[in-house]
């Protein structure tokens, strides 16, 4: 199905939150930058799924994680070549915007193995487990180990 969205645009999501497809996280990965490898439709679907869990309906919550499971295996959502090594990324992070994006959210694939800021909390991991993530993969996510 063709994308109904475009990179750089801001759209109203199914749960009435504005979502911006930021340029920075689309295209080719570069040092210290992760990019989406899923379609824009899928990116918006992940944001809607996050909103449907009720996690971003909380005004105090400025950062939420999500995952896309096929069976109980995490799907690749993006990639990075951070620190010289290429890695596929299995989770994504949505953030409430600031500055010119203050009225909307944006998202990017998160590198839980590398960055303290991009690690999901135990609350996020419990949501992933309820969605079907295996305990073995949850352990690896907690300890920043590689999931295969």
């Amino acid at each position: 199905m063709a994308d109904v969205y475009n990179v750089g645009g801001t759209f109203l999501s199914a749960f009435n939150f504005y979502y911006t497809f930021v340029n920075y996280h689309h295209g080719k990965p570069s040092a210290n930058k992760s990019v989406w490898t899923v379609s824009l439709n899928d990116e918006m679907a992940l944001f809607d799924d996050t909103a449907s869990c009720g996690l971003i309906n909380n005004h105090e919550c400025k950062r939420v994680f999500n995952i896309n499971l096929k069976g109980n295996k995490p799907c690749v959502l993006g990639e990075t070549i951070r620190n010289g090594s290429f890695r596929e990324l299995l989770i994504c992070q949505f953030e409430a915007g600031s500055g010119v994006l203050s009225s909307s959210w944006h998202g990017y694939p998160a590198d839980y193995m590398d960055s303290k800021r991009e690690r999901p909390s135990e609350q996020d991991i419990q949501v992933f487990i309820r969605k079907g993530l295996k305990d073995s993969d949850a352990r690896k996510m907690r300890k920043a180990q590689r999931i295969r």
Binding site: E122, S136, D137, R139, R142, K143, A144, Q145, R146
Partner: protein, 398 residues
């Protein structure tokens, strides 16, 4: 099948498990911490099988056959063969515990942790564990007579600071905490450390720590790994930095996954496993020496650890145990089925244990080939720490 490898299965859902001072602790998937009287459990099995000695040495007292007093017996062929026969005559077994049944078997009221810990370790009768928001501790041994850690350690919340991803016992009385791109920290548990309890040891990325006496390997799954030397300063009575080295430059290769054991660093790569000896006083390293020459896939390696009985390498669908007698032992499982695994290289009685936690069972392996091997010539696995038998650390008594 290796005749000196034995397995017990406890069929019950377990997230994590460890063994400490005669008790087997099971962290259930709903975060109850159950304690089974392990010696009692094994004694009953040994009596039923008519092989108390074999079961006791295999599962409760792994250092027994290393004792210097028994060395002359093990050197005599007839006695050695008789002991080997007893040690190999331990049958694999399985115990099924129904819902609630396991709790009945446990020796104390099961405490419940508030959430699943990121990592945990036991040190001086205290359970230390990591949550998102910091480091916690609680007494593991109830009514202990000797309080071996300061009072402040016994309060539950020790350090309100996240997010650490791994926890290891460090030099002196400190814990080492990896914090990914925030670097590596040391948390001082001593009374004297109360003023400067948390110290940042390095800025470099840290996913896990491998300790080598006072020095340590700060390993990274995503960036370069570093080895940090530390040396005891007699005048100041503290450990001071003694050097830092990018581990890839020690092994002359960049595609490896590293781990350490004793004073040896190891590099797992597509060429096998190389080792390097480290000398603390001069902060120097030997040239790499190959200890395992079959190809391994470091890209599929999740984690690795060294023990006295060999090396344990976790891949996505199997655990490969390279044993100290140069044989190997593979434990296959469906991809993603292994929830957790642990070895206990710093334990006294359970150094030969390997625990595998699955969604529906705990598998406890006991490896018993090592006491029959000449320790100085071992290529795989650390030497048995004979200082355990002396008060002053005479390694050469054996």
């Amino acid at each position: 099948m290796n005749p000196f490898v034995h397995k017990l299965i406890i069929r019950s859902p377990v997230y994590d498990s460890f063994i400490y001072k005669r008790k087997l602790y099971l962290l259930t998937q709903d975060n109850f911490l159950l304690a089974i009287d392990w010696v009692d459990f094994i004694s009953k099995l040994g009596k039923e099988a008519g092989n108390d000695f074999g079961y006791y040495c295999s599962f409760c007292k792994s250092d027994y056959l290393y004792h210097p007093q028994y060395a002359p017996f093990l050197q005599g062929e007839a006695i050695r063969e008789a002991i080997q026969s007893v040690m190999s005559d331990v049958r694999d077994d399985e115990f099924v515990f129904g819902e609630g049944e396991l709790k009945k078997y446990c020796s104390t009221d099961a405490p419940r942790l508030a959430q699943t810990p990121i990592d945990l370790l036991v040190y001086k009768d205290t359970l230390f564990y990591l949550y998102d928001d910091g480091l916690y501790a609680r007494d593991l041994v109830k009514n202990r007579r000797v309080v071996s850690v300061p009072h402040f350690v016994r309060s539950e919340a020790l350090l309100r600071r996240g997010k650490f991803v791994s926890l290891a016992k460090g030099y002196g009385s400190c814990l080492l905490l990896s914090a990914l791109d925030d670097g590596l920290y040391a948390f001082d548990l001593s009374d004297e450390g109360q003023g400067r309890r948390l110290e940042k040891l390095c800025e470099e990325h840290s996913s896990f720590v491998g300790k080598d006496y006072s020095s340590f390997l700060s390993g990274s799954y995503t960036r370069r790994s570093f080895f940090f030397g530390r040396k005891w300063d007699e005048k100041k009575r503290v450990y001071l930095p003694n050097g830092k080295r990018d581990v890839s430059t020690i092994f002359h290769r960049s595609d490896g996954v590293y781990f350490s054991q004793g004073n040896v660093l190891y590099c797992v790569s597509s060429a096998g496993i190389d080792s390097v000896d480290y000398t603390q006083n001069s902060f120097s390293f030997s040239e790499p020496h190959q200890v395992y020459n079959r190809s391994l896939n470091p890209d599929d390696l999740v984690s690795a650890q060294g023990t006295v009985f060999g090396f344990v390498l976790e891949f996505s669908d199997h655990l490969l145990v390279l044993l100290s007698d140069d044989s190997s032992f593979e434990i296959p499982f469906p991809k993603g089925a292994l929830v957790n695994w642990r070895v206990f290289p710093e334990s006294i009685d359970y150094e030969n244990h390997l625990h595998l936690d699955f969604a529906d069972r705990l598998e406890i392996y006991s490896f018993n080939q090592d006491p029959f091997i000449e320790q100085r010539s071992k290529q795989i696995g650390s030497r048995f720490p004979f200082w355990q038998f002396t008060s002053v650390g005479h390694w050469d008594r054996y």
